[in-house]
Structures are given as C-alpha cells and as structure tokens.
Amino acid sequence: MDLRYGPEYEVFRRELREFLTGWPLSGDEAALPQAEQERIFRGRGIDAGYVYRETPEAYGGSGQPSDPLRDRILQEEYGRAGAPGNSLFQGPAMLVPTLLELGSEEQKQRFIPPTLRGEMSWCQGYSEPGSGSDLASLQASARLEGDDWVLNGQKVWTSNADSADWMFGLFRSEPEASKHAGISYLLIPMKQEGIRVRPLRQLSGAAEFFEVFFDDARTPAENIVGQRGEGWQVSRSTLKHERNLIGNPRMISDQFDRLLALAREAQVGGRPALSDAGVRRRLAEIEGFVRACETSNLRMLSASIRGEEMQVMLPMMMTKLYSTDVTQMIWKLAYDLLGTAGLTDCEWAPNYARDSTPPAVVQNYLFSLGPAIAGGASNIQRNIIGERGLGLPRDPRPPS
C-alpha cells in the first residue's frame, strides 16, 4: 500500500493546475455565451491532452494512452476548478465509448468528432412503459424496408429528447428470435416526421425527461451498431459507462462537503446545529459511509491501474447500490437541517446544482431519489450482487 502518486504525477498535477487557471475565461471571451465558453475551454483541454484522453486524435480526442491515475487527477482538479472537461452528457459519456468499442469505422468518423465538439447531441432510447427493469422485453419495433429501418412504438424517461439531434436506442428487429436475441442498437435522427416528443414532469416539478413516440419514423439501414440482433450486448457496454458515471466518488465527497457547509450555517432549536450532539453524530455516521465510498473507489482505481479488475468485481457490483443510498442519506440530513423551511416547495433553478439555499436543498433532496432507479434499480443491483457476487441461486424463471 502506498498512496503517494509519485513525482511524474505530481508534475502532471502541477501543469494541470497551471492550465486550469485559464478558467473562467477572461477578456473578450468572458463576454461570450456560457455554452460557447465551455466549448472553447474544452477544445483547449483536448489540445493539451486533458480531455477525451483515450479517444484517438483522428476522431477529435487527444489520443493519450490509458492511465487511470491521470484520469483521477483530472477528475479531481477539473472538479475543484469547476471547469468544463469531459462532458457528462449522454453522447460523449455513453455513446462515444460504445462506438469506440463496437462501431464501424464509418460510424466512428461520422459521429464521434461532432459529438465531442458538442455539435451533435444525443439522447438514450432504452426504457419503455412496459419495459423497465425487464428491459429486454422491449417492444418498440424496427422493420427493414428498402434502405431504411422503419420504427414504431414508444420510449420513456428519455433525458434531453427535446433538444437532442440523435437518439441511440434499442429496438426489436427480429420478432421471431428469443427475447434478448431480437434486439438491435440503432442510431436515429430525432428531427423528423414520425417522432413526437412529450415532456414528463418529475416529482421535483422539473421536466428533464420525456416520452418519445415513433410512428413510422425512419433511419438509414447503415445506422446500426453491431449486427442485427446483437443490440443487447452492445447496450451492455453503454450501461457499463452509465454506471461508472453514477458511481463517481468525487460526487459523493462534494455532496458531503456541501452538507458540512450547510450544517455550519444551520440552527437547531435556536442554537448552531453543530452544537447539537444528534446532528454531529449523524454527520459522523454519514462521513463513515462517504469514506467507505471513497476508499472503495480508491481500491477499484488501484486495481485498474494494475490490471487487477478481477479482484474487485464484488465492490464494482456493489458501488451503484451503495453510493446512491449514501447520496440519499446526505440530502435527507440536509433537508432535516432546514427545519420548517423544508415545507416550502419551489421550482428547479440551474444554480441549485451548487448553492445551498433552502429551495436548492429541497430540490437536491427530491433529486437524490432518482439515481437509485436510473441505470438499473437498486433491487436489480441486489439480484446481481446476490446471484453473481455471492453465488446464490437465480430467481426461478417463469415458463417462457
């Protein structure tokens, strides 16, 4: 065990910090619209080898060798600086890794560069009203007609469907084949007749995701990733990336820091909350869980540096279930610290992602209920841990 990063990485961190002093932008650039500023700075990150590191230069990345420790340093320092690095949107975060792994050369050249530049945006079409945890039962259909796939059916919980240029999604293309073997992974232009998008309001009041209806929508035959009927395997690769995103340890520590900051300001019964023994104990209890997340992540990072992922399969299976629970604990205490101010409802505002006003806390608490469902609900994770992790017998399957 040795938690020092070593001189090579200290130099890397120093240079990175120097680079990150360039954010926020200054001079004329500071007057540009926010999205444009982010695009500019992200571009500089790519040129400097900090952003989209493992995507080859030919596709618009910075073509660096894989290095989990550099990735960690980048995550830490970009997070600290609040600077735009690797985009967490679904296109760059989930589709691009999938295409790099399984896409054709034409698909890589056509889709990856504009996606990384932020010029082509994506939404994910997996879940359907009748297919949530049992995703492979999905019914939205794709039928090959001449040079086009013709799509019918409905997708749901689709983030950014209103603004996305494209969807990557799962469709039943082989109705005669068995459940998992009849699915194809398709790329579909969203702006067309035949696709209708309807907002879904969340319990928080915000409308971040949508229902998408397909009525003889079309996409060219070549827009399939992998072969016909291989869509399920292709999507496993995408889901893997989504889980990594949700399990980001930095996110948990940041949220705990916000909770501590909140507790320093809060009052309980007319006295500072931090003088209350109950509050202090709850904070320390939560810190135990937060440290468990951080150190588990450190184990997984360390194993991936050494190519020993097989030794951490169990914690990898467990991280999503655990960290989404811990996030809820954090925001539940934050909510309690509001006292009766927690009775106030409000609408989501973008600055709530960072600030600690009562409405932001209420909204963050409500939002914290979501990740335990997205990307594989907690009870599905428990099945995976039980069956694959602990070797328990599989659930009895109903006769098909």
């Binding site: 065990m1 938690l3 990063y5 990485y9 209890e285 135990g288 050494r306 328990l392």
Partner: protein, 359 residues
C-alpha cells in the same frame, strides 16, 4: 499509487487463515467457547511459530518490525475465524512498548514478547467507562501505581500489562508485581475474556514517551478492532449464504426467495465496501499521522455498527436455529459485540470523529 495489499501482506493473511482453518476449525472453536478457556497454549505456540506475537516488535528486538496495517490485516483473519487468544491485545502492547519505551525498556521486555514466551495485554480503560476519561484511570506516584483498570483482555493470562495513566502516560506492570489483584469479569465474548486489575501501590515503570505512544496505541487499537469486526461480519455473511443455499422451505432453498437474497446482498455490500475504511485508517496510522485519529475513529464506529447489524440479520436468517446456543452464529455475534463496545461505542467515536474532523 497502490491501495491494495502487497504480496507479503496477502501472504500474511493467507498464512494466518490457513493456520486458523487447520488448528482451530469450528469444532475446536466450539469446545473452547463452551469451556470458556480462551487461552489455548497450543494455539498460542502455533502463532508464535509463524512469528505473529512479534509482528509489531522491531527487528532489533527479534520481531518483524511491521505496523498498524499488518496488525489490522491479521485481526481481520482473527475475526473471521473468531480465534480465541490474546494476539490482538498482545500486538497493541508491543506497539506501546515500541513507541513509548526507552531503549532499555524495549530491550528488557520486547524480545520475550516477540518470541511469544511471555504474553502482554493492554489496560487502557479506568473506572470512567470511556477511553478519553483520564481522571478515572490509575495514577502513578513515583513508581507506585494505585487505582483500577477495567475490561482488561486476558487479565488472568497476561504476564505483562501496559496501563494507561491518569496523567496521560503509559506504564508497564508485571503480572507478579506486589499489590496487583486480578479479578475475572464475566465477559460477553468467550473467545476473549476480560478482567479487572486492582492496583494498590503496585510497582510500575513509566514508559519514557508514553503520552505520545497512547495516541498511537489507541488509534491502532481502533483499527484492529474494526478489522476484527470486519472479518467477523464477512464470516457471518458467508455462513448465512451457505445456510440459505441449503435450507429448504416451500420446496426450494430459501436463497431463491428475493427477500432473502436481497437481505444477503445488503449485508455483503455493507461490509465489503467498508474494507477500505479500515485499510485506509490503518495505513494512516503508519504513514499519514495527521489523519490517523479521525480515520481510526470513523472506521471503528462504522464497522462496529455494520458488523453488529449484519450479525443480527445472520441470526434472523438462520431462523429458530439462529437463536440457539448450539448455532455457531452466536460466537461471531458476540465477537462483533465485543469489537463494537470495547474501547468505546460507535456514538463515542463519532463524537470524537466530529471534533477531530473540525465540525
């Protein structure tokens, strides 16, 4: 950057695991447990043959010169096997002598402790009932110790005690010192009996830098107890997994029921993801002093809590059998209770962690 075990550390765990499997399998453990004779000299001799009593003793005094992390790694195996015996406390006592003893003191006591020829234990708690309550500890006046130390592990067996003092320092008391009366307590964990030490002007020797060593020993002790609880909790998960796979109800193994499967998944998750907590805290004891006290307190509180909750669920999942004396689950349940309560409850250590964490 490497947050994992070295080959030597993994081998240390493997060696101890193999020793426990061979020398103290559940049948032997049950005999010792029922007899209440937790110090088995054959087991101690076997541990000495693989060098474990000298783990934290410097090489110059005949030990392996290892630290809090290696001690904690061994404790994980001790907890997993619920191994009866004083190794954890002996290890902490040697650490106290190493950190707090003058050269002459180290040379005088450590070699016989390293070889396992003599057994040492720790007496860190006075009559105050809290590890931080110095006022309740025995007082050393010149070289005479007076007062009471409670909950001293293997009090009836140890040849040597490292005693925490009212003034914050540490002293060493020999077993046969005049005015020392050892009174057995009725301990919850039959694998680790306790006793009370009564000192009445008992000859004792102050360790040269005992006040500094106290912090080191306390933090290492919290890590060791967390690790023992960690090993015990994983053993309970494994035991319960095996039981659920074989126990049939409604015509199938109960492990096929999602209610059981999910409960087991939660138990395993709660314990496996806290492994890094004790690793990190013990590593901090050895290498990041500024973080050691808070991380050790968090690890002790967190794993102490988790282990007892897992043990409770293990009892529940074993059904009526789980509530019997005959079922081995109770051995580990009580092991986890000891690890949770000894040297302070989760609440106490959360209070400390909050203060140490600056909130």
């Amino acid at each position: 950057m490497h947050f994992g075990l070295s080959e030597e550390q993994a081998l240390l765990q493997e060696t101890l695991r193999g020793f426990i499997e061979a020398e103290c399998p559940p049948t032997r453990l049950r005999e010792i447990f029922d007899e209440g004779a937790a110090h088995d000299s054959a087991l101690w001799k076997g541990l000495a043959e693989i060098g474990l009593p000298g783990l934290c003793v410097p090489e110059s005094e005949g030990g392996a010169g290892l630290g809090a992390l290696e001690l904690a790694l061994c404790c994980e195996e001790l907890g997993a096997g619920a191994l009866p015996g004083p190794l954890l406390f002996h290890g902490l006592a040697t650490l106290a002598l190493r950190e707090g003893g003058a050269a002459a003191q180290r040379e005088r006591w450590l070699p016989a402790l390293a070889s396992g020829e003599r057994v040492a234990s720790i007496a860190l708690e006075g009559v105050g009932g809290s590890i931080d309550d110095a006022a309740g500890r025995p007082a050393l006046d010149a070289a005479a110790l007076t007062g009471v130390a409670r909950h001293v592990p293997f009090a009836e067996v140890a040849d040597l005690f490292v005693v925490a003092l009212m003034d914050g320092g540490l002293a060493v008391v020999e077993r046969d010192a005049q005015g020392l009366v050892v009174e057995a307590e009725s301990g919850i964990d039959r694998t680790r009996p306790l006793g009370t030490l009564h000192f009445d002007a008992t000859p004792a020797e102050r360790l040269e830098t005992g006040a500094e060593a106290f912090d080191v020993v306390r933090d290492a002790a919290l890590c060791a107890l967390a690790a023992d609880a960690f090993g015990a909790a994983w053993a309970l998960v494994r035991m319960t997994v095996e039981y659920a796979k074989t126990r049939q109800q409604f015509g199938r193994p109960i492990a096929e029921f999602q209610s059981v499967k999910h409960q087991l998944a939660d138990m395993a998750t709660a314990i496996e993801l806290s492994r890094g907590l004790y690793w990190y805290a013990a590593y901090a004891c050895d290498h990041i002093k500024a973080e050691a006290s808070q991380q050790a307190a968090l690890a002790k509180a967190h794993i102490g809590d988790q282990a007892v909750e897992i043990a409770r669920q293990a009892v529940e999942l074993h059904g009526g059998l789980g509530f019997t004396w005959e079922c081995d689950v109770q051995i580990w349940f009580k092991r986890a209770l000891f690890d949770r309560a000894f040297l302070g409850t989760p609440d106490e250590h959360r209070d400390r962690a909050a203060a140490l964490g600056g909130y």
